[in-house]
């Protein structure tokens, strides 16, 4: 079975909660998740972010769930790294 190792998302979110809280909420999903957030654009009430998550086996649906529970929405998956069966131990 393949595993998602890295994913880069284009996210639109309200100004609050801030990006630190946003990143922390995603990182809290698993101890091995590393989250990087960059603000791409700031509007009157919203921000567009590039949210990059890497870990041993990312659970995309839970990541999306957390983003949506904090008022954000995933516009697109811009980049991803998925490994197959042989690379799982790497």
């Amino acid at each position: 079975m393949s595993m998602i190792r890295k994913i880069e998302l284009d996210v639109l979110k309200p100004h609050l909660p801030g990006i630190l809280e946003f990143a922390r909420a995603v990182a809290a999903l698993s101890p091995d998740y590393r989250v990087e957030v960059g603000v791409v654009e700031v509007d009157d009430k919203t921000q567009t972010l590039t949210l990059t998550v890497d870990g041993k086996a990312l659970d995309y649906s839970r990541i999306q769930e957390v983003i949506e529970s904090l008022g954000g929405s995933v516009h697109s998956i811009d980049r991803c790294l998925v490994v197959g069966e042989q690379d799982r131990e790497a």
């Binding site: 309200p14 529970s69 904090l70 008022g71």
Partner: protein, 196 residues
Amino acid sequence: MQSMNIASRLRLALRISRANTIARRYFVTNGFDGALTLLGLLMGFRVAGEVAHEIALAAGFGTSVALGVSGLSSAYISETAERRQELDRLQEAMAKPLDGTAHDHAARIAPVVVALVNGLSPFLIAQAILMPLWLEVVGFGLTISAVDAGIAIALLLVFLLGVYLGRISGTHWLWAGIRAALLAIATAGLILVFDI
């Protein structure tokens, strides 16, 4: 959000809605209302002469309940409307409904928190001012007049609210406290001037 406990959800809702700042402001403004209203009432009893403690307490308690309910209901109604409008605007900007999100919770929790602060602040301040009357009525004989003691507590509480405001605004706490106390003294003076 599902994995967050109630305390974390409440903290997040307060941060998103900035309800803590609004509640702090309401605490001071309605606390002032409560203290000055009770000060006015006690000054009225003082200029009227001898009034039974039970009557003064009943009037003061009734006033404090009315202040509490007024603060609670007015803040809840206005905050609910404000939050609903804010959420609608945010949904428009996000181009999606925000049902079940932290913002939806914040829009529902913030009016309750703000209303509780707005209602409890004058009510509790009024109870502190009425404390000497309560003590007299339940049988603790005071060495000074319960009405005068209540007036002194009211002045002290107004001073403390001023000190609190001074600390928030970064001005000197003593000056802020004295300024607030002077307002209360002026109120008491006005009542004495219009003594009928």
